[in-house]
């Protein structure tokens, strides 16, 4: 049983690897059906964010537990340019031209918890969690 996975993100094919690993891990946590697709889609969005803005980074996935509930923790980290205005980036429809502008706000909607820490010139860390019902 692998309760943790780290997926380097360097090219667009890695996005597929990350979301497949995420789907496997989420199934292990006890997620079913549409939740697996929601988690895989959220991973796809944040992994793509790395490719588009930072070129390279890493997505790490792990099983978590709190008060008898199981869940998945997904952390996307890069050392790219950072996001100057997080509030703007989290707004629906804000796009730099390479997407529909729904990536980050969309990922937040698909997950239970979503935090983003970014420093201009240093990089971005996105932390997401989803709990089984």
């Amino acid at each position: 049983m692998s309760a943790e996975a780290r997926v380097p993100i360097q090219r667009d094919g890695d996005i597929i690897a990350a979301r497949q690993k995420g789907r496997d891990l989420a199934a292990e946590a006890g997620f079913r059906g549409s939740d697996l697709t929601l988690i895989a889609t959220a991973i796809s969005e944040i992994a793509r964010n790395i490719i588009v803005f930072a070129q390279r980074g890493e997505v790490s996935l792990s099983l978590i537990e709190k008060a008898g509930k199981r869940g998945v923790l997904i952390v996307a980290e890069d050392h790219g340019p950072g996001i100057p205005d997080i509030e703007q980036a989290m707004r629906d429809g804000f796009s730099t031209g390479k997407s529909l502008g729904l990536g980050l706000p969309g990922a937040r909607r698909l997950m239970d918890e979503f935090e983003i820490i970014s420093q201009v010139g240093k990089g971005t860390v996105i932390t997401m969690r989803k709990w089984t019902r």
Partner: protein, 124 residues
């Protein structure tokens, strides 16, 4: 892996078989824009039933592809979006406004198939 394109009468069918990369989708758009001209195809069906995720990038690519082919005089149908994928797309806020969709490849094909010459003769 490039997406294979089949020609069936006046319709082109692109079956996206596995998780496609961004580059594959860009390539598919180029290939189809070229082939609708070469084969004078009036309809294109994109079968996405094998896709387990359609994120904002994939959706934008398919939308652009459908609009590009419309410029070239062809009608595009996106066929076979799976129930869980449809649900996730709606949650993400993604739409396919103005683009034809079908339950599966067969239904999509019927939507864009034009009568063949033999049919014309049959009717007289």
């Amino acid at each position: 892996m490039p997406v294979p394109i089949l020609k069936q009468g006046g319709v082109l069918i692109a079956s996206i078989q596995t998780a496609v990369t961004d580059q594959d989708l860009v390539q598919l758009q180029d290939d189809l824009a070229d082939k609708v001209g070469r084969f004078r195809s009036g309809g294109v069906v994109i079968d996405v039933s094998a896709l387990d995720v359609m994120d904002s990038f994939a959706t934008r690519m398919l939308r652009n592809l459908a609009h590009t082919l419309k410029m070239r005089g062809a009608t595009t149908v996106i066929a076979g979006i799976q129930p869980d994928v449809a649900f996730a797309m709606v949650e993400l806020g993604l739409t396919l406004d103005g683009i034809l969709t079908a339950l599966d490849l067969e239904e999509g094909f019927d939507m864009v198939a034009t009568p063949s010459r033999e049919d014309d003769h049959g009717v007289g």
